[in-house]
């Protein structure tokens, strides 16, 4: 496969996943904002989302205060924000269009229809009354896309690169969502109710509230939340679950290429092993924030190595 094709497939997977993650994050921030009282706290939910999505520096550059209206506009629709939902959809479609021959008709239609529909959005689409429906729609479209390639794509190289993109983005997102709330998980809380809302928010961001109860049959507790999102392989959005998929996928590509391996394969193996055999007690003792920051950095490095080995060969 052409390196450029692999690159486009990888980013197609990443951008679709990112659009979905931003939408989930916005749903949670909306909910938190409506549950908390006082403007300062409401805005802090939106600020947290800006940080978790890596959009804070870009937003600050606009000079606007982080009010709900301004953040919603920036995260949902701003063409100047490369990670806004509309920008992600645009970028996904651009990548899909660049590799029409490598994607299935179903995938193309999932992306192309999403894009045509998104282009019809107006300021009203993002108004408070309409925003929840828009976010549901985005989530639905990303699930449709993931289903279209997960179900109907030949298990060959093209599928592996899309999946690699999805999983890299997903691992990064889960780590960031946790990290932005690490205070709520680590510190002794001044206000129990606020902390509880934050804990719920973390779980909701990765659609894991019910999963938590199924796994633990217990009240929400920081240690368990961190364990679920980092170390439990049965949660599809946990960091370890994403790394299992990334390792499997990179191994699959290497096997199809007659065993050709590089630094990305070593790195993913090391990272996956660390997560697979890691204990939450050790992570909490060493500092959750440090652990998550290191994970995010290593994920970035893995992305660079994949880029060097396959995508810009």
């Amino acid at each position: 496969m052409l390196s450029r094709t692999a690159d486009s497939l990888f980013w197609l997977g990443r951008y679709i996943e990112r659009a979905g993650n931003i939408a989930r994050g916005m749903q949670v921030a909306l909910r938190m904002a409506s549950l908390t009282h006082g403007v300062a706290r409401r805005d802090s939910a939106w600020r947290a989302l800006l940080i978790a999505s890596g959009c804070e520096p870009g937003f600050q550059a606009t000079g606007a205060p982080p009010t709900q209206d301004a953040v919603v506009r920036y995260l949902a629709a701003d063409p100047a924000n490369p990670s806004s939902i509309l920008s992600c959809i645009d970028a996904a479609r651009r990548n899909a269009r660049a590799v029409r021959t490598a994607v299935t008709v179903d995938m193309w239609e999932a992306v192309n229809d999403t894009w045509s529909e998104a282009r019809r959005s107006t300021a009203a689409t993002f108004a408070p009354d309409n925003l929840p429906a828009f976010l549901d729609w985005v989530k639905g479209r990303t699930i449709l896309f993931n289903g279209a390639y997960g179900d109907a794509m030949l298990r060959h190289e093209a599928w592996r690169f899309v999946r690699l993109g999805t999983m890299m983005e997903r691992a990064d997102n889960t780590a960031r969502v946790l990290d932005v709330h690490h205070h709520a998980l680590a510190d002794a809380q001044e206000d129990g109710a606020v902390a509880y809302v934050q804990w719920q928010a973390i779980l909701r961001s990765v659609s894991a509230v019910r999963a938590f109860h199924h796994v633990y049959h217990a009240r929400l507790e920081p240690r368990l939340i961190a364990e679920l999102l980092i170390l439990r392989p049965e949660l599809p959005r946990s960091v370890v679950a994403c790394y299992a998929r990334i390792e499997e996928t990179l191994d699959g590509i290497a096997a199809a290429h007659g065993g050709r391996r590089g630094e990305c394969h070593r790195l993913v193996g090391e990272m996956h092993a660390r997560l697979r055999f890691g204990r939450i007690e050790d992570i909490m003792a060493g500092g959750l924030h440090d652990f998550l920051t290191a994970t995010i950095d290593r994920n970035l490095e893995l992305g660079r190595q994949i880029q060097d080995f396959y995508l810009q060969a």
Partner: protein
């Protein structure tokens, strides 16, 4: 077409329906207008979903446009097609022999059958190709010959496209759409298939593998990228042939061998079906600022390590100023009389011709010698005095840049328009493949001018397309059926 001259309608004339259209006439008569309109919308949705677009940049609005598809097919009987096909084969053989000659011994010039200056000083002439013989001696492997029709017996060649003719994807997708939307109607005809075009194309490309290729040739299609108007087609063809669609930066040349960058390392490429212009192919030989091309490509080509289709320099054969000499080429190289007629053409560069053109601007079609896509064109009978004055000034200033032809009464085919079914002017671009042998897939791209009376069929100028059916039999004419659905206007 001026309204005073009735054009030849390919379906009906004088209360009779021409044989190939007998079933279509019955179908149109039996189908209510609303049902046709519904099917038209279904077709549009189908094309939109597949994403078949044609990119038009620099005009504002949506750059990715859908070319309107008309659901009423354009039909040719077997005998009509066979005659046309023989003429096309003859023409493309002569065009290739001409190319081999002008980049070789230039016998046609020495024999005085074409002016030397017209060839050697033409910007489409590539001195870099002089003395080089491409594999199989073929220059134009994929040619699109635009033909128009004025009556039951006469097809005229309007222009040749020997460089990178596009539109074949519309031929293929149009057929797919018809089979999906109208299985019964298709089944009621014996329509010659076109679906094997990509296989024929791949065979053609493989048959011109370079002399140094000792394996099964690896073929790739070279595109300028996703902003090119025909990008959809490049991907479509690559997909159908199971080959890679590459951009310049995907390729590199090492020791005069072309490789593509892949996830498994570099892979040698043997044949490149290039869809980028000569000027951008290789910055070391042509335009140095080109980022679309591949440095060293021409050296690899000349070393016999890669084949390029179509060959650089093929454009000299389809130049509009060279066009009037094609019948002469056929006589010179093949010793045959041309089977397909040329449209009489006035070269504004010649004093006599220019005087005639300037006197008859209201009757003629004036075109840019090096233009394409229907841009920069004057259709005399439809022009205003102001437009004619403007063209007259331009012709006087740069006569070599203009040619003129009489306005032909292009044939019409019933077309579904807002008011119902109405005759609209059409042309036809069949695709001729030339490798070890010449192959013509039965059919081509029928373009239709959707505006009433318009003669300009280019998609950039409001033209649409129709599926082109070549029948495997020759049905007899019938009396015109009466019905509810047909609203001739």
């Amino acid at each position: 077409m001026t309204k005073t001259t009735p054009a030849f309608d390919e379906m009906a004339a004088d209360g009779l329906v021409r044989g190939p259209y007998a079933e279509i006439a019955r179908w149109l008569a039996a189908t209510p207008a609303a049902a046709l309109e519904r099917r038209r919308q279904e077709a549009e949705l189908l094309f939109k979903r597949i994403g078949i677009t044609f990119a038009v940049y620099g005009e504002g609005g949506d750059p990715e446009r859908l070319i309107p598809f008309d659901i009423i097919p354009r039909i040719l009987a077997r005998a009509e097609w066979e005659a046309l096909s023989r003429g096309l084969t003859q023409r493309v053989r002569a065009l290739n022999l001409f190319l081999l000659d002008v980049y070789g011994a230039q016998e046609i010039i020495r024999a005085g059958r074409i002016p030397a200056a017209l060839v050697r000083q033409n910007e489409a002439f590539r001195p870099e190709m002089a003395g080089f013989v491409p594999p199989g001696g073929v220059y134009t492997h994929i040619a699109g010959i635009d033909v128009v029709r004025t009556d039951p017996d006469n097809f005229w060649v309007l222009e040749d496209n020997c460089r990178t003719p596009s539109g074949v994807s519309y031929m293929l997708e149009g057929r797919e759409a018809m089979l999906r939307l109208f299985p019964d109607l298709c089944g009621a005809h014996r329509v010659a298939p076109v679906g094997h075009y990509p296989e024929e194309l791949l065979e053609t490309l493989k048959s011109v593998a370079p002399p140094n290729c000792r394996t099964v040739p690896r073929v790739a299609i070279l595109t300028p990228g996703s902003y090119n108007s025909a990008y959809y087609e490049h991907c479509f063809l690559a997909d159908e042939m199971g080959i890679e669609v590459v951009e310049g930066p995907d390729l590199f040349v090492e020791d005069e061998v072309v490789y593509m960058r892949t996830t498994t390392g570099s892979q040698r490429v043997d044949v490149i079906y290039r869809r980028i212009d000569d000027d951008y192919l290789d910055p070391e030989v042509f335009r140095p600022e080109s980022v679309l091309g591949v440095p060293g490509l021409m050296a690899a080509y000349k070393a016999g390590n890669v084949s390029l289709a179509n060959a650089p320099g093929a454009g000299i054969a389809d130049d509009k100023a060279v066009y009037p000499y094609v019948p002469e080429m056929i006589r010179f190289y093949l010793g045959e009389e041309p089977l397909l007629a040329n449209v009489p053409t006035y070269l504004c560069e010649r004093d006599e011709d220019r005087a005639y053109v300037l006197d008859h601007l209201d009757e003629l079609v004036v075109k840019l010698t090096h233009g394409s896509g229907g841009y920069g064109m004057l259709v005399g009978p439809h022009s205003t005095a102001e437009q004619r004055a403007d063209f007259a000034a331009r012709i006087r200033a740069k006569p070599a840049e203009y040619i003129a032809q009489p306005t032909l009464a292009l044939s019409t085919v019933p077309t579904l328009v807002e008011k119902g079914i109405a005759p609209r002017h059409v042309d036809l671009r069949p695709f001729v493949l030339c490798g070890k042998e010449v192959r013509v897939v039965p059919g081509g791209l029928t373009r239709v001018a959707l505006r009433e009376g318009s003669l300009v069929v280019n998609s950039s100028q409001g033209g649409g397309t129709k599926d082109t059916w070549v029948l495997e039999d020759d049905p007899a004419d019938i009396a015109a059926p009466q019905g509810q659905g047909q609203t001739q206007c």
